[in-house]
Amino acid sequence: MIHYEHFTLANGLNVYFHQDTTTPIAAMNIIYNVGSKDEEENKTGFAHLFEHLMFGGSQNIPSYDSALQIVGGENNAFTSPDITNYYITLPVANLETAFWLESDRMMSLSFDPEVLEVQRKVVIEEFKQRYLNQPYGDVWLRLRPLAYQVHPYKWATIGKDISHIEQATMEDVKSFFFKYYVPANATMVVAGNTSLEEVKRLSEKWFGDIPSGKRYQRQLPTEPPQHQARFEEVTAEVPLDAIYKTYHMPGRMHPDYYIADLLSDVLGRGKSSRLYSRLVKDQHLFNSLNAYVMGSVEPGLLVIQGNLNKGVRIEEGEQAILAIIEEVKTQGIPEAELAKVKNKAESTLLFSEVELLHRAMNLAFFANQGKPEHINLESEKMQAINAEAVQALAQQILRPENSATLYYRAKAN
């Protein structure tokens, strides 16, 4: 049970407080309700580039990082298709510094053109390091547009193309900031050994006078139901053939999300899962093989991916995967197997709550979705699922017409 309290400032900033008296380190987590799905198709990669610019100095504080380091704090941030998330951990005695830093950059950035020029280069190197200069690094640059034709999930957070990052202008930066980086569009969580009164006092003091702005009303195109199987094939300088399959599934807040999550666990989480135990351990077709869900807010994907052993044809590997899927659809799963994946999900949840920052981050995520209470309901929702529901969902989503398949062939073969 994660206890929390909530209040809203007059300017619309939602603040949550989670008390933990056992640690001398406090955490602050702020989500801005903007992700790469909110970008324009010809200006992709921008939400993430912007995240880098948030560290380039604000109106009154030239260096964010050193102002935090000198009080013994650490920070980082990430951008996803759904949100941009910033976090700080620091000694609780110096908590006010976090309020000072975060409120100043929410008020206004420095908009220094040199910062834009340098971060543009840094992000381009990040693009290369993570997506281009790695074996299989570009998989998601190919899979996303195959799985999504209309919804902006069709481009990756890093961007569709390096040229979009090269072309970003200071005007883009400013309009993005004033549209999304406003109190009404942010959720803040403070966690640690302090009190609600203190968090209220500091929030009023530092964030109270920031102009509200408007909560951004999202109007994204809906991905239409897929009616035909999609397929793409690529050949690249990689040592092993690989296969990736995606199936459309419900989004993170949908009641069926947890069913899909358990279904993916049955198929391919860990060494006793069906795909791994049969195709890696028994039949030696694959070198690695797993299944997982993308926890995206809007309708997401159940993904199966694996590297094939040398000498095994991708087609053969795919047939073996499909046979296992078919079995789940026609025969369902035994209660004991369902209990196993539920137990795993329960431990995963409890282990993830050991770290204070992680609790703060999860609370912020659900609060940003307007459902903070959800953080304490996950286990219950998971436990309530029965085997029939898993089979029914398997039949509903694990259909060829609902899938996209990528063959990633090794050149040498």
């Binding site: 056992t22 001398p24 380190i25 109106q59 504080i61 990082d65 380091q69 000198i70 009080v71 013994g72 704090g73 650490e74 620091l90 000694p91 005695a93 110096n94 006010e96 309020f99 000072w100 100043d104 340098v118 280069k121 840094v122 190197e125 990040e126 290369k128 390091q129 993570r130 281009l132 200069n133 790695q134 074996p135 299989y136 530092w206 300088e237 990689v238 040592p239 092993l240 860990g270 060494k271 006793s272 135990s277 351990k281 030696h284 070198n287 690695s288 052993n309 040398k310 209990a339 196993k340 137990n343 795993k344 999900a345 329960e346 431990s347 995963t348 409890l350 282990f351 050991v354 770290e355």
Partner: protein
């Protein structure tokens, strides 16, 4: 009107509490180290043997021995073991290191009693089935081929190989040519010599009750332990002296750079001063290298320097992936920054930032029972005590710009460095 230009008052960190693990000796000579902390009803239990690379008589055999512990016992097959552990929602890890190997289980307290018997089976009666071994060999070799496509993997591997020599435990890597000839019997031999009935250490951390502690003591005190203690096999180092090595990799967009030198073991008195010196140079996000190469020039997504210290020896290394056209410029800038560290004293503001940051980061690394177990291992296995960390804190607080200058002059000489570049220039 709120003054936003002046930072809020802050408190320097002067008191860092480290919750210590306590040690009890079981009647059979096994040490059980425990810490009861945290709030969630869960724990991690680690069983640690001195059976890593330093103890192997054949390259890579220790790695496969520990990875195969879960692949079959006299009572259960590989899939039965995995199925059994998974049904309780537990996680098991087989770790392999230069000095030690370990089996760790992460579980909710309520399932501990179900899991202990199988842990005992894994360490006392593994059967190393040949079918599973051949499959694991095959998977490992193929995964290595994937890794060897990565410039950063290759650069790290080559750097360590050159630094210590490819046969020395600190320089040795997994390699297909070592793995191919390994046979099941080699694993059995390594197991019999270094794990079976050998003394081990138990580390149990989490939020548990006397019941769980009792279960663990009773389970492990009944095992027969012989008193034979193996010594690491000593191999001569074939270290490469300061030199530059370039490995061309076709089609690279970036070059991966490693540059550094050999140091000393963890108990060396210069460790503390060098830790601060390294932090300023390239250890944290606000470091000189990060500011220069990423934040001013934009050549890279990141650049870091670090100290890697084993018990007997260690090294210092700078690592980065840079845009290939700027490989030479980056190397020149690293040299320039190293030179500056040796000639110009660090100014007071920068020194204050780095000191407070290091103390805060250290305090922040003590959050969970798992963190505290790592802190304990950092001293225990190097024959140090918690005083080591008190000293760490004091030395950070008291170090001066002159100390840093002297340390940089002693250790950051670019002419003593080994340089490895994988990629394109």
């Amino acid at each position: 009107m709120l003054d936003r230009k002046t930072p809020p008052l802050f408190h320097p960190i002067d008191n860092i509490q480290i919750l210590p693990l306590t040690t009890q000796m079981l009647p059979n000579g096994v040490s059980l180290h425990i810490l009861n902390a945290g709030t969630q009803p869960l724990l991690r239990l680690e069983i640690i043997f001195s059976a890593g690379t330093s103890y192997e008589s054949q390259a890579n055999v220790s790695y496969f021995t520990v990875k195969m512990l879960g692949e079959g016992t006299q009572k259960r097959s590989s899939s039965e073991i995995m199925e059994y552990i998974d049904q309780y929602g537990a996680f098991i890890d087989f770790n392999h290191g230069v000095e030690r190997v370990s089996v760790s289980i992460y579980t909710l307290n309520k399932y501990l009693a179900n899991l202990l018997p199988i842990l005992v089976e894994l360490i006392s009666e593994p059967t190393f089935p040949d079918k599973e071994f051949q499959n694991l060999k095959n998977i490992t070799i193929q995964s290595l081929q994937v890794n060897e496509e990565k410039n950063n993997y290759l650069a790290s591997k080559l750097f360590r190989e050159l630094l210590f020599g490819p046969n020395h435990p600190y320089g040795k890597n997994l390699q297909a040519t070592y793995i191919q000839p390994l046979e099941r019997e080699d694993l059995v031999n390594h197991f019999q010599k270094n794990i079976q009935n050998r003394k081990f250490e138990l580390i149990m951390v989490g939020s548990f009750s006397p019941r769980e502690l009792d279960l663990v003591s009773r389970t492990f005190e009944s095992l027969t332990i012989d008193n034979q203690v193996n010594s690491p096999i000593s191999l001569p180092m074939q270290a490469t002296l300061a030199s530059r090595h370039f490995f061309q990799k076709e089609g690279s967009l970036q070059s991966s750079i490693r540059i550094g030198c050999r140091l000393f073991g963890k108990s060396h008195p210069d460790y503390f001063a060098l830790a601060v010196t390294n932090e300023i140079f390239g250890g944290y996000f606000g470091s000189r290298l990060m500011k220069n190469i990423r934040e001013e020039k934009g050549y890279t997504y990141g650049i870091h320097s670090s100290l890697v210290l084993y018990k007997e020896d260690g090294y210092w290394v700078v690592g980065t992936d840079v845009k290939k056209d700027f490989t030479e410029q980056t190397l020149a800038e690293i040299a320039k920054e190293a030179q500056k560290m040796q000639t110009e004293p660090v100014d007071a503001q920068e020194l204050a930032i780095v000191k407070n940051y290091m103390l805060g980061a250290f305090a922040g690394s003590l959050n969970t029972p798992f963190d505290l177990a790592e802190v304990f291992k950092g001293i225990y296995f190097n024959q140090l005590t918690y005083e080591f960390y008190q000293k760490y804190i004091e030395q950070i607080q008291n170090i001066t710009a002159e100390d840093i200058l002297a340390t940089a002059q002693k250790y950051l000489k670019i002419e003593n460095m080994l340089e490895v570049v994988v990629g394109a220039k």
